[in-house]
Amino acid sequence: MTLRVLIVGATSAIAEALARRYAAQGATLFLAARHTGRAEAIADDLRVRGAAMVAVGAYDATVPDRAEALVAAAWEALGGLDVALIAHGSLPDQAACAASAALTRRELEVNLISVIDLLTPLANRMQSAGCGTLAVIGSVAGDRGRQSNYVYGAAKGALAIFLQGLAHRLAPAGVRVLTIKPGFVDTPMTAAFPKGPLWASPDRVARDIQRAIGRGARVLYTPWFWRWIMLVITLVPAAIFHRTRL
């Protein structure tokens, strides 16, 4: 059976790597992105790589009230959805957020509220259909608040709780909810930085996501060792943690 896949934030490196994997299996895809020209370039590539059908839709997470229409368009274009990956987001400037409540709010809207706006109609449609997987890119930053990155961490942490509840609600309907927590990913944007062994390629992360979706996992740390790194980080007592610059 042909897999029907919606990807929001389709021009991100992880999203594109996952889209290629599904395309190679002959999936049909709906790509939502702010920059539709670039999404069209990705769509052409996915067609060459074997996608049975690819459609593109405009989506801007900073514009409210567009989520419902996007979900309806994707649902109609593909005749239902088996997988929805939500991959859009921004990386806030923590220092600037600390100085501006308005900026903090905007970052929370992009990284949390806009995602929930998509998840609500997606969840309801999948619940009625009685199948499907909601896969959402969170972050290890959501596991513990750190001085260097807590606005982003707050958005991703709240998102993880929301997804936990959603998974609970949708379990009887046979709908899976996957929270993805990537560590450091070597996207082209960070290619010039020196890399240690903790860095993973987008394709490695995409492979882990595809497998986690396939086996119906609920939480994915990728690469796997981040589960243990974050376990240690969450267990460090505040008295010690506050002496670090993490």
Binding site: T11, R38, A41, D44, P188, M189, A191, A192, S201
Partner: protein
């Protein structure tokens, strides 16, 4: 997707420090605005300094790795410049399409294959990679996007083929793949005990075989000078039997050894075994395309065996009329120095006119060897070889080079002034500044 690549050349000599690296990800992006000059960097498989830009900025193109279109009926393919040849093969071989020209590694980008106008074992029939390109887009620092091809802006196209990335950024290119019945190659191997044997085979078998190349034991001297094994292949017929399985996952050199693992006694033994393993009479067999075309791709990061000082490759071409004498003189010189390595390759190029103004392949005999970098001894040997190449009216391959003088470059590339007219003023490279006598 982009791998975790450091920005060095394959020979890891010379070292260069770009002031910045900008990773390109979408072909509609304008060129990044930077102070100083820029140079596209693909997968870093050029050996010397043609892919380096000391003191300038590199434009890393591996993020431009999308296909634009592929017609499985005609084999016409259009892709971004950062796509690797290996990625094309993965996509198309199963459907019966192969690269029309391929160099000895499949881990080069399409942009790099064009910018170095690479050649393969079928040069005598198919010409170079540049001959296959039907169209490309060039993004100039002026912001213009120029479409070029053999009949469209043909002069800028000819400058860009083999243009070493100096005429602007190639964003995408189009070329036609060739039909194959299966992934296998019918290979004939013939041992020859002297250089003369090579020329007899090369001038005979080239008519019957699509792919030809010879491995030379560059440590043999005297009566055995230039002994080696001649390999000639054709794509296998549809009904080929006993086809081997494709090779499995490639092993890799996992770390940098503290010194070169290439030492004279072990090399002499290796070359002797390799030569004598081949029976006196010609052998034939069917091979998967990967070990035939890409024997070294079977070992990841093989350049590490030369240790931290790196290595140089020397690839020359000399006209056929003096080819036998010049090649003999070069091999004598190399055997006498005892510096040669096991990767020595000899081939006769065809006489198809070059596709690019700075293309390396031209009618004649081409010899390619690796040398571990041993400081002055290596450079002295190269100077002697340069003299022989210059006397023979030959040229050195820029993609392999880290040493040639401005004079030798000018002698080997007489269309350099024509090429200069098409240079993009914002583009430069360590190689270009070296061979034109500007500051490196």
């Amino acid at each position: 997707m982009a791998a975790l690549t450091p920005y060095q050349s394959w020979g890891r000599y010379p070292r260069a420090s770009p002031v910045g690296v900008r990773s390109l990800r979408f072909r509609d992006q304008p060129l990044p605005r930077v102070a100083g000059n820029v140079l596209p960097f693909g997968n870093g498989r050029s050996y010397g300094d043609s892919c380096l830009n000391n003191g300038g900025t590199l434009l890393a193109t591996r993020g431009l790795d999308r296909f634009l279109a592929f017609d499985p009926g005609t084999g016409l393919i259009r892709c971004e410049a950062g796509v690797l040849l290996s990625e094309i093969l993965s996509l198309t071989v199963g459907g019966g399409w192969f690269l029309p020209v391929t160099p000895g590694t499949r881990y080069v980008t399409v942009g790099g294959a064009i910018a170095n106008d690479v050649h393969g074992k079928n040069h005598h029939l198919a010409g170079t990679f540049g001959h296959q390109v039907t169209r490309l887009e060039l993004l100039r620092s002026s912001g213009e996007r120029l479409h070029c091809g053999p009949t469209e802006r043909a002069d800028l196209f000819a400058a860009t083929i083999g243009g070493l990335g100096l005429t602007g950024l190639i964003t995408w290119a189009e070329f036609r793949l060739k039909r194959i019945a299966n992934p296998y190659v019918q290979v004939e191997r013939t041992r020859f005990d002297h250089l003369d044997g090579f020329f007899e085979l090369a001038l005979g078998a080239d008519r019957e075989h699509e792919y030809t190349v010879a491995w030379i034991d560059c440590l043999a001297s005297g009566r055995r000078l230039g002994r080696g094994i001649y390999m000639a292949g054709n794509h296998a017929a549809p009904t080929c039997e006993g086809a081997p399985r494709p090779p499995g996952r490639a092993p890799s050199i996992p770390f940098d050894p503290p010194l070169s693992l290439i030492a004279a006694p072990s090399l002499r033994a290796f070359n002797g075994i390799f030569y004598h393993k081949q029976p006196r009479r010609p052998t034939t067999g069917v091979e998967h395309y990967a070990p035939f075309f890409y024997p070294l791709d079977g070992i990841g990061q093989w350049n590490r065996i030369y240790g931290p000082k790196g290595f140089l490759q020397y690839q020359s071409v000399v006209p056929l009329a003096v080819g036998r004498d010049a090649t003999r003189a070069m091999l004598e010189c190399i055997a006498g120095s005892g510096q040669g390595s096991f990767l020595s390759v000899l081939k006769v190029f065809g006489d198809r006119p070059a596709a690019g103004l700075l293309s390396f392949p031209r009618p004649g005999v081409t010899l390619a060897l690796d040398f571990p970098y041993k400081g002055r001894a290596t450079l002295r040997l190269f100077e002697t070889l340069d003299t022989l190449v210059a006397q023979a009216g030959g040229a050195i391959y820029p993609a392999k080079d880290a040493h040639m003088s401005p004079r030798l470059f000018a002698a080997g590339y007489p269309r350099i002034d024509e090429f200069r007219r098409h240079l993009d003023p914002a583009f430069s490279s360590s190689f270009w500044r070296r061979v034109t006598g500007e500051a490196p």
